[in-house]
């Protein structure tokens, strides 16, 4: 068990390291001068040169990278223009946003969380519900309708659904305010009102694969011996489904959900763009456009951390649920 954990953690750290190196290289491969993106507006050549010095851009790449990594682990000294000393998880200073990158993240992470977490709950409920109904009513019109609905959702484009929803509920009917983010703790009603369209669109798109997955799993487990045994023992069908089949069938759904949520937390770029909400995804896209290296690095790393963590969690969950999985 311990061996597995250590091995898994090592490989995760190695992955994150590779992601950071790749991102670093990719940015410096950008043909534009990285300074222009990191210099405040209306930069004159002297200022440009000073920024270059401040950022240590004339240092060798390896040193720059080492400095960056050191900042994350222990914090590091930045120039006065970059807000002086930068505390332990130091991700650098963004000239574009004129703030420490950690502050930017602190601002946009709750936004993405507010989009993804309720949406994930919604799509899981919808997906599992549809899958359950279609598996139990296999071969009937209910089954076909549920799967048809799920496939329809999977075939829709988020921006298209979003556009239609916006047109209907915001612009035409006026039932909902223009989407935007309000902190949950300031005003829960406005928080929900501003995000509900994003949740619904994401749920509509994502639930499809869950419905199909859960249906397939359920049908498979219902055919397995232990379920038949449970039935033969005379357990009521609710107990058969509830206690035996559902638990076995939900495992892969949880797996996929973990990975999907992990990936979505890295930024729901399209959703945020469609509804004009400034979350992690939008921030990353803006940073790439502006050539804002510290922010790009941070957003990509955060996204990678979410994916890697989700991967590990799913593995651990598997260990907990299915003792047959070997601790290789």
């Amino acid at each position: 068990m311990l061996r597995f954990l250590v091995k898994r953690t090592l490989s995760a750290v190695l992955t994150l390291f590779a992601v950071s190196v790749l991102t670093f290289l990719m940015f410096f491969a950008l043909p534009r001068d990285p300074v222009t993106g990191m210099c405040p507006k209306n930069c004159n050549p002297e200022r440009l040169e000073r920024v270059r010095q401040e950022l240590g851009l004339s240092d060798p790449l390896v040193d720059q990278y080492a400095g960056y990594m050191k900042g994350i682990v222990t914090g590091r000294e930045l120039s006065a223009a970059q807000g002086g000393y930068c505390d332990a998880p130091c991700l650098g200073w963004s000239y574009v946003n004129n703030e420490a990158v950690t502050d930017t993240l602190a601002r946009v992470l709750p936004v993405t969380l507010s989009i993804v977490v309720p949406a994930a709950i919604l799509w899981l409920l919808l997906g599992v519900g549809l899958g359950l109904v279609s598996a139990l009513r296999r071969g009937t019109w209910v089954d076909r309708a549920a799967i048809g609905f799920a496939l329809t959702g999977a075939s829709l484009q988020l921006y298209f659904v979003g556009a239609v929803l916006l047109l209907v509920f915001v612009h035409t009917l006026g039932w909902l305010p223009v989407p935007g983010y309000t902190s949950l703790f300031d005003d829960p009603v406005r928080w929900a009102g501003g995000l509900v369209l994003a949740w619904v669109s994401l749920a509509l798109l994502f639930s499809a694969s869950y419905a199909r997955l859960f249906r397939a799993q359920l049908l498979e487990t219902l055919g397995e011996d232990f379920v038949r045994t449970a039935r033969a023992k005379g357990l009521p069908s609710s107990a058969v489904y509830g206690r035996h089949a559902l638990r076995a069938a939900i495992t892969p759904v949880v797996t996929v959900a973990g990975l999907d949520v992990g990936a979505a937390l890295g930024g729901t770029v399209i959703t945020e763009t469609t509804f004009g909400i400034q979350g992690l995804g939008r921030t990353a896209v803006d940073a790439v456009r502006a050539g804002d290296l510290p922010t790009i690095m941070a957003t990509v790393l955060v996204a990678a951390v979410f994916v890697v963590l989700a991967n590990m969690l799913v593995d651990l969950l598997y260990l907990a649920i299915d003792p047959r999985v070997r601790w290789g």
Partner: protein
């Protein structure tokens, strides 16, 4: 977001072990498992309808120049005279008429129908090419990892994890302009074919993981089977092993991941255009059209509707057909 199309649903219900069960109808003389799957597919009404729709769309894409000829309007022809002072098309529903089946684009006044026909061509070309590349990369890496095991497997698995950990849209956003500028100067005109090529490469680079995983799992399961041992005992080399013994048993997962990849890449092309790094302005594409149309959401909703519905129909048909294909390939999941 993960671009890998196969990670979810497909990993579960695919088993290409061939139909189980002993004696079958005596008359089914010499029917290979593939032929049996084909028979099941042919008997499926949904598969027939979606398959026919797909064939039609592919034909339209292929025949785009022919359609242009009969339709009499090219994708770059502008009809400014049919727009009002705000650049919006005159007439109902975005200028739909006998001459312009789906109306006109606001602003430039180009014909929506013929642009959709060409957009279909672009989208299908990009998606299918990327899916083929994806399948090749995925099958090669998955087979190597599964068959050789050991450190090869460890490396492939790790690279898979790494690929999945990179946020696709952000990386693509950074990579596409970089690559473009590498090969073409700041002010050079970028040929449309180059944009298409870059897109395909990017999709393939990010999309192979699911196929690789699927194939790897399948190969590991097959490796333990005795027919593989029988070939080894006869002294079969790795070539015979991989191509003669294993590959014929991998068609099911390959087809399945292919059917999942195509709609994923159609969507991906549109998504990239949507955040502004898709294809160049001259190349008609679904994504770009939808992206442009969103600005007219309130003034010209018909312009949003036509591309949106067309891309939905395409993806829906592929998804339906893929679903039927999975059922046909996996007799266990028969309804």
């Amino acid at each position: 977001m993960s671009l890998s199309p196969v990670d979810g649903t497909a990993l579960v219900a695919i088993e290409s072990g061939g139909p189980a069960g002993g004696s079958r109808d005596r008359r089914s003389v010499g029917r290979s498992p593939g032929q049996l799957a084909w028979l099941r597919l042919r008997g499926d009404r949904t598969a027939f309808v979606s398959g026919a729709t797909l064939v039609l769309l592919v034909l339209v894409a292929f025949a785009a120049p022919l359609i242009e000829l009969t339709y009499g309007i090219g994708p770059r022809d502008q009809f400014q005279g049919k727009l009002d002072g705000f650049g919006l098309p005159l007439g109902h529903a975005g200028g739909v008429s006998g001459e312009h089946f789906f109306g006109l684009e606001p602003g430039l006044g180009r014909d929506v129908f013929i642009r959709l026909v060409y957009g279909l061509r672009t989208s299908l070309f990009v998606a299918v090419s990327a899916a083929v590349l994806t399948a090749v990369i995925g099958v090669v890496l998955g087979t190597l990892a599964g068959y050789l095991g050991g450190w090869v497997d460890a490396v492939v698995t790790w690279v898979t994890d790494l690929t999945l950990a990179l946020p696709f849209l952000v990386v693509a956003l950074a990579l596409i302009p970089t690559l473009t500028l590498r090969f073409h100067g700041q002010r050079d005109a970028v040929p449309p074919a180059f944009g298409v090529g870059v897109l395909i490469v990017i999709f393939a680079l990010f999309g192979w993981t699911g196929t690789a995983r699927l194939v790897r799992g399948q190969v590991i399961a097959l490796r333990e089977r005795e027919f593989v041992a029988a070939a080894r005992a006869s002294g079969a080399g790795p070539g015979h092993m991989l191509f003669r013994q294993l590959l014929p048993n991998l068609w099911a997962p390959i087809l399945v991941s292919f059917s999942l990849a195509v709609p994923q890449f159609i969507t991906g092309e549109a998504a990239l255009s949507f955040i502004g790094v898709g294809l160049t302005q001259e190349t008609p594409s679904f994504g770009r059209m939808i992206y442009q149309s969103l600005a007219y959401l309130q003034t010209d909703p018909a312009f949003v509707l036509f591309p949106g519905v067309t891309i939905f129909a395409l993806v829906f048909a592929v998804n339906l057909f893929g679903d039927a294909l999975r059922d046909a390939l996996d007799p266990k999941s028969a309804r």
